[in-house]
Symmetry: C2
Subunit: 126 residues, 2 copies
């Protein structure tokens, strides 16, 4: 697959990937991909990441059913970052049960929590 050859993976064979809601532009998640996960993402038109902690492919939504349907795939000027424009099935991207992982915000020199949990993780992964 030619598109895979034109992307730069780092010295651990990984590339950062940002998942953005294709309609609202909200940034939902940040994760990593290896070549295999990017290949599978393109083939399945569903986000597949690489879990650095578990050291294996991470089929987003395999446990939670919160899969991410690919609408568009971008890379940056240096081709060393991937941007996925996605439809977030279930409306929950974060393992905490929130829509987006980016819910800590600096306010008055502290990190505040800006969004509520939509669904208890125990009910997602339990």
């Amino acid at each position: 697959m030619d598109v895979l050859e034109q992307v730069k993976f780092d010295d651990q064979g990984l590339i950062p990937a940002i998942a953005q809601d294709y309609k609202t532009g909200e940034i939902l998640m940040f994760a990593w991909m290896n070549k295999e996960s990017l290949k599978l993402t393109i083939e399945k038109q569903q986000a597949v990441y690489y879990s650095r902690s578990r050291k294996k492919l991470w089929f987003k939504g395999e446990e939670s059913s919160h899969t991410q349907v690919i609408k568009e795939i971008y890379s940056d000027c240096d081709r060393d970052v991937i941007l996925l424009k996605i439809e977030q099935i279930g409306g929950i991207a974060c393992h905490t049960g929130r829509a987006s992982c980016f819910f800590h915000k600096i306010e008055n020199d502290n990190w505040s929590i800006t969004t509520d949990i939509i669904k208890d993780p125990k009910d997602i992964y339990g």
Copy 2:
């Protein structure tokens, strides 16, 4: 600064940072920060990154005058990624002279270029 202590830097002392237009939601750039650059970003309310290639602080816009004014700073669930909501001065975030760095898009199994150059880099950095 307490907010700095609650963020996780990787084993090279770095954290990924995404710059997003605070009005349109467009993702403009991806770069890295070390603790000092995040501290300066908060203090100056202007994006300061860490250049891995040049191994030094990168005051975004110091050559191009395309600075990034901070509107909001977020981090994710694991606090190991930073999201900056910014106003892009000059409307050009990318060193290629484009509004955003994310201008390669997969179309028909190839990377297509989706946006035009706003200003020739020679006229930005020359």
